[in-house]
């Protein structure tokens, strides 16, 4: 059974998430503050941490930094939609993903699954990615759409690969810029252009992307492997 550590100071939310996550087969431990969360994380070695950024005792970003100092456990941040700065800071500090408040349970479950898959893929790197018609063979550097090979420039491939290795999770502008242009301070306009090119090649309707999704103000997310 997968251990999840839920950190939130809001009893109402804990009251909902604990039984529902339990029903999904996760074992849930809860903490209502950062100090308690760090102590619990030492004890139970959770496989996923759900973390509300607004904690009464210590700042959420500090909790992330402290967790990262000792472990690579996937951290999913629960935050408000308008707090892009907070989200980006959390991701920069080592969080893996976030979910906006208010969320539907399906969205949270998808994030948890993506996080678990990603953390297991860190141990033994996957050789392929497949979602809908899109297929990527990492060893052969081959991308195909419904069986037909898609020609990608090296930069396009690097970006797609990075997104695919974190499939289902958000990848920040900063990280993509570092991958494509070697500097995370490059102009994000380049990135937008390349994402547009990628969508032209892999999306059925580039105007209404289903695979390569925009996370406004934060980054991009490639649909989880299915």
């Amino acid at each position: 059974m997968t251990n999840i550590l839920l950190v939130d100071d809001e009893p109402a939310l804990i009251a909902v998430l604990q039984p529902v996550l339990g029903a999904e087969g996760y074992s849930v431990a809860t903490a209502s503050g950062g100090v308690a969360a760090l102590r619990l994380a030492e004890d139970i070695k959770p496989e996923v941490v759900l973390l509300d950024l607004g904690l009464p005792d210590i700042d959420g970003k500090e909790v992330i930094r402290a967790l990262r100092a000792t472990s690579q456990v996937p951290i999913i941040v629960i935050s408000a939609r308008h707090q892009e700065g907070e989200k980006i800071a959390a991701l920069d500090n080592g969080a893996d993903d976030y979910v906006n408040k208010p969320f539907e349970i399906g969205e949270l479950m998808a994030r948890i699954r993506a996080a678990i898959r990603r953390s297991s893929s860190l141990k033994n790197a996957p050789s392929t990615y497949r979602s809908g018609p899109l297929e990527i063979d990492f060893t052969a550097r081959r991308v195909s759409l419904a069986g037909d090979t898609v020609k990608l420039s090296p930069k396009e491939y690097d970006l797609l690969r990075t997104l695919a290795l974190s499939a289902g999770q958000v990848v920040t502008h900063k990280r993509l810029l570092a991958v494509g242009w070697g500097s995370d301070t490059a102009d994000s306009q380049y990135l937008r252009v390349y994402i547009g090119l990628l969508r032209q090649k892999i999306e059925e309707d580039p105007g209404d992307p289903r695979l390569l999704l925009t996370e406004p103000g934060v980054g991009y997310r490639l649909a989880s492997a299915a």
Binding site: A12, A15, V20, P102, F103
Partner: protein, 498 residues
């Protein structure tokens, strides 16, 4: 001795002589004559010098006219008594005329010098007076920070210090209007218009006008009418006008600052309200969304007890959202101008019982107790607002306490007021924050985003209680040497007889 003299000399003497000057001259002359007789044995020259000294003293003391009179009189005395032949006015030799000439020249020099000295002194005195007037005016204007104050101060101070009637006019929508609360004559308005447009004012020279051009305020006109004889010097009037223009500038500036501060305050409140909406509404919404979507997605997997709890949670969170909405609404209503809701006579105990009943479901294991007073105490208030206030306070007691805490409400009569104490054995408030808890958006806690309340509850409570003429205080400890105590005192309604 001046009678029968030609007119110009008489006029000169009249203008420059008064009784005091004549008396002083006579005394000096008499003393000089006595001294001259006394020194006569030493020779004519000694006597003549004594007279020169006397004339000089008369001139220095009383001015040119006195000096000339003294010179003529001295010559006559000298000629009649002292020169040969004595006791006649006859001049024996041409040399006898020399004293007359010397006396008069000496009188002329000493008189002119003394006159100039006096004029300087006079000028210094008058400029000193003007300086004092300006200083006094500027001090009075300093304390006038609003336009109406400036207008009143100018009128009052100019009248008192300069002895003139003053009226300030300024341009409002291109038209010149009087700022004075009193009506002004049409003639003044016409005069002011001439001053403002730079035209030649009518011959009515009794009025003095200056155009004022403050940097950040409408241009204005200052019109003065001297009420005392004596001239107001143009340079002095300019200085006064400058000072008034500066005062107008300062008033406009302070008005702008006040406006901007009010606008900034309103903007801050709006931002805070929006932040409160986005933060405090999202939490219950998240719980509701998660519960409802879980019931849809995993309805069958969840046991009936969990399903019921999720549904219960949805209802509770809806109630919480409703309370937030009510608080926000009350807050903006209070901001818009006081509590103007219909008032009723209410029983304090009855209200508390009803509120305790409503709050109990979310109190968990906490014990909520009521200690009512012997008689039923009645107060005048709006029932829904009073309920909201009590709920806000009790919610705080629940929110900031552990499950095993107690919350006790005590009602009693105290000096013609109804006192309601809500005390808990919870976490309490740091002593330095006791006053701040009644500020809007103040939350007790370290993190800005932390806390479950909107930070509006106690601010609303304070607004409500004060609008009814009551007081509200926070103190520590509450119960068992810990926790918080909120004390409300409301005036008793007429109908109750404590």
């Amino acid at each position: 001795m001046t009678s029968g003299r030609p007119n110009p000399i008489a006029r000169f003497l009249a203008a420059h002589l008064d009784r005091g000057a004549l008396l002083r001259t006579a005394i000096v002359l008499a003393l000089s004559a006595l001294l001259a007789f006394a020194v006569y044995p030493l020779g004519e020259v000694a006597s003549a010098l004594v007279f020169v000294l006397g004339i000089t003293i008369a001139g220095a003391w009383s001015g040119l006219a006195s000096a000339l009179i003294a010179a003529v009189a001295a010559f006559l005395i000298y000629n009649f008594y002292l020169t040969e032949p004595a006791l006649t006015f006859r001049l024996a030799t041409g040399g006898d005329l020399a004293p007359l000439i010397v006396f008069n020249l000496c009188a002329l020099v000493s008189g002119v010098l003394a006159g100039r000295l006096k004029d300087h002194a006079q000028a210094a005195r008058s400029s000193n007076l003007q300086l004092h007037s300006l200083l006094a005016l500027s001090q009075e204007l300093q304390s006038a920070l609003r336009l109406p104050d400036v207008v009143v101060t100018v009128e009052r101070a100019v009248h008192r210090i300069l002895g003139a009637r003053a009226v300030l006019l300024h341009f409002e929508d291109e038209a010149l209007r009087s700022l004075s609360p009193l009506p002004i004559e049409l003639g003044w308005l016409a005069f002011a218009h001439h001053v403002a447009t730079g035209g030649t004012p009518p011959a009515d020279a009794a009025l003095i006008g200056r155009r004022l051009e403050p940097a950040n305020a409408p241009h204005a006109v200052l019109v003065l009418e001297p009420l005392r004889p004596g001239k107001l010097e143009p340079a002095f009037v300019d200085a006064v006008a400058n000072m008034v223009a500066l005062a107008l500038e300062r008033a406009a500036l302070s008005e702008q600052i006040t406006e901007r501060r009010a606008a900034a305050g309103a903007e801050k409140l709006k931002t805070a309200l929006l932040a409160s909406v986005s933060h405090d509404f999202r939490t219950p919404l998240t719980a509701i969304s998660a519960s409802a979507s879980s019931l849809i997605a995993y309805g069958e997997k969840l046991d009936p007890e969990t399903s019921a709890r999720l549904l219960r949670g949805v209802v509770d969170e809806c109630a919480r959202l409703n309370r937030y909405t009510a608080n926000l609404l009350e807050m903006s209503r209070m901001e818009a101008g006081g509590v103007s809701q219909p008032l009723q006579i209410l029983s304090a105990a009855e209200m508390v019982v009803a509120v305790l009943h409503r709050v109990r479901p979310r109190a968990g294991e906490r014990k909520l107790l009521l200690h009512p007073s012997d008689q039923d105490l009645l107060i005048t208030a709006n029932p829904s607002l009073f309920e909201l206030v009590l709920i806000n306070i009790l919610d705080n007691a629940i929110l900031y306490s552990d499950e095993d805490a107690r919350v006790e409400v005590t009602i009693c009569a105290e000096h013609g007021a109804c006192r309601i104490d809500i005390a808990d054995s919870g976490h309490g408030i740091p002593e330095h924050a006791l006053l701040r808890v009644f500020e809007r958006f103040h939350r007790v806690g370290k993190s800005e985003t932390a806390g479950r309340g909107s930070g509006l509850g106690l601010a609303i409570a304070k607004g409500f209680v004060e609008a009814l003429g009551g007081t509200i205080d926070a103190s520590i400890p509450g119960l068992d040497g810990r926790g918080t105590r909120i004390t409300i005192r409301l005036p008793l309604a007429e109908a109750s007889n404590p």
